[in-house]
Amino acid sequence: MSGFRRLVRAEWTKFRTVRGWVLGLVAAVALTAGLGLQAAAGSHASCGMGAVEVACPAPPVGPGGEAVTDRFFFVHQRLDGDGAITARVASMTGRIRKPDERPGVTNLVPGVVPWAKAGVMVKDGTRQGAAYAAVMVTGGHGVRMQHGFTEDRAGTAASAPVWLRLVRSGDELTGFESPDGRTWAEVGTATLAGLPESVRIGLFVTSPGDLTFSQDVLGGTVAVQRFTEATAAFEQVGVRGAATGGAWSHDDVGVTVGPGGAPHHPGRHVRQGDTFTVTGTGDIAPAGDEGGMRAEQTLTGLLAGLVVVVVVAAGFAAAEYRGGLIRITLAAAPGRGRVLAAKAIVVGTVTFAAGLAAAAVTVPLGVRVLEANGNRVLPVSLLTGARVVVGSAALLALAAVLALALGALLRRGVLAVAVAVAVIVLPYFLATVSVLPLEAARWLLRLTPAAGFAVQQTVMEYPQVAGHYAPVLGYYPLPPWGGLAVLAAYAALALGLAVAALRRRDA
């Protein structure tokens, strides 16, 4: 093993004594940090309040620390301690805004979007982002039990009319459904840790925007969210428990208020005895792209750094073949596989270190700059942030090893650079901004080395949230480390082929 250590040391000496390579690494760090911070400094956001520009409000944050959307119409009363609410959702109707046919005339058509929700809820107050659990019927996805903004459990595929019941016992909530109000089936249980004694219990309706996709004139697709609202009729509403004597109050949770103080797209309700007709718009879900910028967007400069690193690594391998240095190298160390392994270790380590330095500075600093400029940035946990930084460094290192292997395999720096860029950057480009349909784009990010970019993702795709889960918005088809593993597999494959070729060929 000490022989191999010597080999690594020799390759390291070879690397650090060529000024162009060292400068290349410095340039990679500078480009990554410089472009990222430059873009952050250039992104300003403010929210208009009529003629007045004000700082955008921070998005509400859910119990898990993630940015959430929390908007719905809530008819509720106080519940102290254990209790339950039962209601029959008799009907669910709604309206969807379509593109105006005549300018200036709002075109609303009847309809309910698949993820419109009507049901019963227990929530820790009416503050946006407060903990909750709810059982509901949806426009097209049957009965669901949801809590904590991200958790979702399917019940039957029933649609209104349907009976719903939510039972609180301590911090445990259980949802039930019934076709007739007599035979009940459990939908799911949620434990809301730290739920206080006194909570709000009641009926809610909300309806997310209608999502349509169209081709962006600049390339790629854009998603348009159109206003929708849902109206549900609740019958035979009954609350059991130590409530405040059946005094109902109501809140349009999360409603946006216009410049004149009037609510924008308000919800409403009508009560007739124990029958309530509730209308709401919005969603109760993790926030996607609309919640703010993603932390990894500060790392767009990493692409430039990656290209530089590819050039350096390919050059490090191909330089052996210019002027016959390889013969000296192999005379000094005849184990050909070991020579290449030593090279890969050196290139991988130095690029990892450079990437780590660049990302560790750029991400926190870039987020600060973005926020200082009034941009909302989706909060990420410390662990996720660390994964983005370390993963980006690993992405750079693996790209470098891939380029090194290609350089040794093709023996020409220019070809190695072109192939490396073509297999890493080109698929990423095609998947994010080209004319490809979403599914084809996802396959590109599963099968090509560009899958490695998944390690940067900070947003997750949720089946219960209709969203524009496009790669350009930071959604990848593979999990972060899974995507990086694909890139690692390509790098390993290329390295293996290069070792085989080096062993077979005359130097």
Binding site: Q297, V308, V435
Partner: protein, 245 residues
């Protein structure tokens, strides 16, 4: 000039990679175009542009062809022989540019015709593609010109940078990165600015059949790329004349 052209032509013709790279321009362009066409189930928003999507990949091969045509000489030192035989350095670069341009136009035409043929067979909505249609003809001819200009841009960069691997990285970075950043930056002002100045986005505007709403018109966009190519060739030519070989 005719001697310079003849000499550079002999050089290109007898270099082992030229034929392969020209074939690769056609295969990669038409192949990627066909793959995109086959991947689509519904007629795309812009049929002609989608049919010609392979240009995005084909330009990388054109870039290699251009980089290799000068980078190879610097790599071996043969550039000294070249400049000893042909001391008019500007003329040497001009001859290389003319020949590269001619070869790329030829290969690009075949590639574009191949892409359109593939689209007529495979692309939903592609049956109606016809070069008799003005915007389609503009997209097709513009794509061929795009390849030639991308080649000239690469040639200029390669002469300026000299090291072929660094030149390849610079050119491909210059083409792909601003184009990517245009979409990764979600700020609308930045997007339009980047779109206007990035050689690839601006240049490929020529493929758009209905350019309403774009920051640039089709020919305007190609002109942006032409400015890039002229700038790179100018800088390369200046450095070539000023520098010791």
């Amino acid at each position: 000039m005719s001697r310079l052209l003849r000499a550079e032509w002999t050089k290109l013709r007898t270099a082992p990679g030229t034929g392969w790279l020209l074939a690769a321009v056609v295969l990669v362009t038409a192949g990627v175009g066909a793959a995109v066409a086959a991947a689509l189930a519904d007629p795309p928003y812009d049929v002609a542009r989608t049919a010609l999507a392979g240009i995005v990949a084909g330009q990388a091969v054109v870039a290699i062809l251009a980089v290799v045509s000068v980078g190879g000489e610097y790599g071996t030192g043969m550039i000294r022989t070249t400049l000893t035989a042909m001391p008019r350095r500007g003329g040497v670069l001009a001859a290389k540019a003319v020949l590269l341009c001619g070869l790329t136009l030829a290969a690009g035409s075949v590639a574009v015709l191949g892409s359109l043929a593939a689209a007529r067979l495979l692309l939903p909505g592609g049956e109606a593609l016809s070069l008799a249609d003005g915007p389609v003809l503009r997209a097709a001819a513009g794509s061929v010109l795009y390849l030639a200009l991308a080649g000239l841009l690469s040639l200029g960069v390669a002469v300026a940078v000299r090291d072929p691997a660094v030149a390849a990285g610079t050119v491909l970075g210059l083409l792909y990165l601003p184009a990517l950043l245009t979409f990764l930056v979600r700020d609308a002002g930045w997007q339009r600015l980047l779109y206007r100045v990035s050689p690839m986005n601006a240049g490929l505007t020529v493929q758009v059949t209905e350019p309403a709403g774009l920051p640039l018109g089709p020919w305007e966009g190609l002109a942006v790329l032409a400015v890039w190519a002229a700038g790179a060739l100018g800088a390369g030519g200046l450095l070539l004349r000023r520098r010791d070989a």
